[in-house]
Amino acid sequence: MRRALARIGHEIVERDRDLSRLAIVGIRARGDALAARLCETIRANEGVEIPLGAIDITLYRDDLTRVGYAPVVRESAIPFSVDDRVLVLVDDVLFTGRTIRAAMDALVDYGRPRAIRLAVLVDRGHRELPIRADFVGKNVPTAIDDDVRVHLVEVDGRDEVELVKAEVPV
């Protein structure tokens, strides 16, 4: 995981040489921890402090009225102006793309970024929206009913990517 993040950190810097306009925004509740690690990586390698934000997408979910309960809303924190910035959205797993759609909708409520890019630790395929990651830690082929769980020290007490295969009916 550390190597994947280091590589993504490099790629982000390669892609946008002008680091002064860069900001990294993690999607709660695990993308924000990954975003913080990416910031740290870039600071260590480039000596540059990239602004860090966190966004909660709950209020932008398209299934709110269908899930039958109210998911907990966490506080978003975008402590900088997004206007004319290149934002790198960070999430743990890219799956249907709906979370990313929600995050982009949320981000544009803060202003008009110059660009939004997407970094994910795992891309497991099965997109339902026309969304593609710019930076991918690892592509993991999965069946649609599988579950990919990313565990992070900051949230779960350990770093691990777990592929839970769907139970095959006998």
Binding site: T65, Y69, A70, D105
Partner: protein, 320 residues
């Protein structure tokens, strides 16, 4: 945080646990952030209808709920006393049936009769939020006062809050008690004996609450004061000799503020009678949280609307 929420209605907070209150306050904090964005509107309640049924005059609370509903993209329908058939003698029973037929998801209601929201909640499938019923409860005000006090004072455990004024007729006082006491605060009520329930003065106050007839002693060392609005009708009803005397004996001025802990804030649910229950210098002074209450009110009401309208029954942690 271990979120706890499984309410279908918000009628009173008198039976809420500390965890439930804290859940709402935590959700409110996220809503404050939403309101700080350049575009103060999230799509969470798109397609949901919030009916604001105000059978008693109120601008502040109605507008606060309306802004909250719109900030979550809900459709908002207003039914006010003057605009509804209540004035033509339509019964609350008929109104409840009509509201049910209109099919709102959340019904925010204010009514002059204590308990009226219970009456409606039993007769509608919508989630009902009590926005003030008679002299009973005003849960969203209690929650926003708790939210505002927590922002100003931090943890309320062991904090002493003075509530001063017409306790008898105050739904705000009742809801403040039921929200602040579970969070660990102790309440000192102070006001004219004619305007404090006899049971609360004479040995049966609610848990965590005491009555202190001398307002100066009530304020001594207090961590915050909540000043209540004095309705001018109380004088006509023979409960008060005069507003002048009330102001002199119970009004909160700069001198009285000095009795509280240094920097202790003052709140007021509004609208204020400046110069009666509160001095203008206090109301607009640096220790006044009165404007903060108004801003926080929208966020707390967003949290309530979200919790009632987004889910059918429960708030859950979600890994999505």
């Amino acid at each position: 945080m271990n979120p706890q929420w499984s309410r279908r209605h918000v009628l009173d907070t008198d039976d809420w646990s500390r965890a439930e209150i804290e859940t709402v306050l935590d959700q409110s904090r996220a809503m404050v952030e939403v309101l700080s964005r350049p575009i103060r509107r999230a799509p969470a309640l798109r397609g949901r209808t919030v009916i604001l049924f105000f059978a008693e005059a109120s601008t502040r609370t109605r507008v606060s709920f309306e802004l909250a509903a719109k900030a979550l993209s809900a459709d908002v329908t207003n039914i006010t006393a003057t605009g509804s058939s209540l004035e033509k003698g339509e019964s609350l029973y008929d109104t409840a049936r009509t509201l049910e037929a209109l099919g709102g998801d959340v019904l925010v209601m204010r009514h002059a009769s204590s308990g009226a929201p219970y009456f409606v909640a039993r007769r509608t499938s919508a989630a009902v939020i009590n926005a003030g019923d008679g002299t009973h409860a005003h849960p969203s005000q209690g929650l926003l006062d708790a939210f505002t006090l927590r922002e100003a004072l931090g943890d309320l455990e062991g904090k002493r809050i003075a509530i001063v004024g017409d306790i008898l007729h105050s739904r705000v006082a009742r809801s403040d008690i039921h929200t602040l006491v579970p969070l660990g605060a102790r309440i000192t009520l102070s006001g004219p004996p004619t305007l404090v329930p006899a049971a609360w003065r004479c040995g049966q106050p609610p848990s965590g609450v005491t009555y202190e007839p001398d307002v100066d002693r009530a304020l001594d060392g207090a961590d915050a004061a909540i000043v209540l609005r004095l309705q001018r009708e109380r004088q006509q009803a023979g409960l008060l000799p005069s507003l002048r005397e009330y102001s002199r004996v119970w009004g909160i001025d700069v001198g009285r503020m000095g009795r509280m802990r240094a920097g202790a804030p003052v709140m007021h649910p509004g609208p204020m009678n400046e110069g009666v229950e509160i001095d203008a210098a206090v109301a607009h002074g640096s220790r006044s949280l009165i404007e903060k209450q108004v801003t926080n009110g929208v966020a707390v009401r967003m949290a309530l609307l979200y919790l009632l309208a987004a889910g059918s029954a429960a708030l859950l942690e979600d890994r999505a």
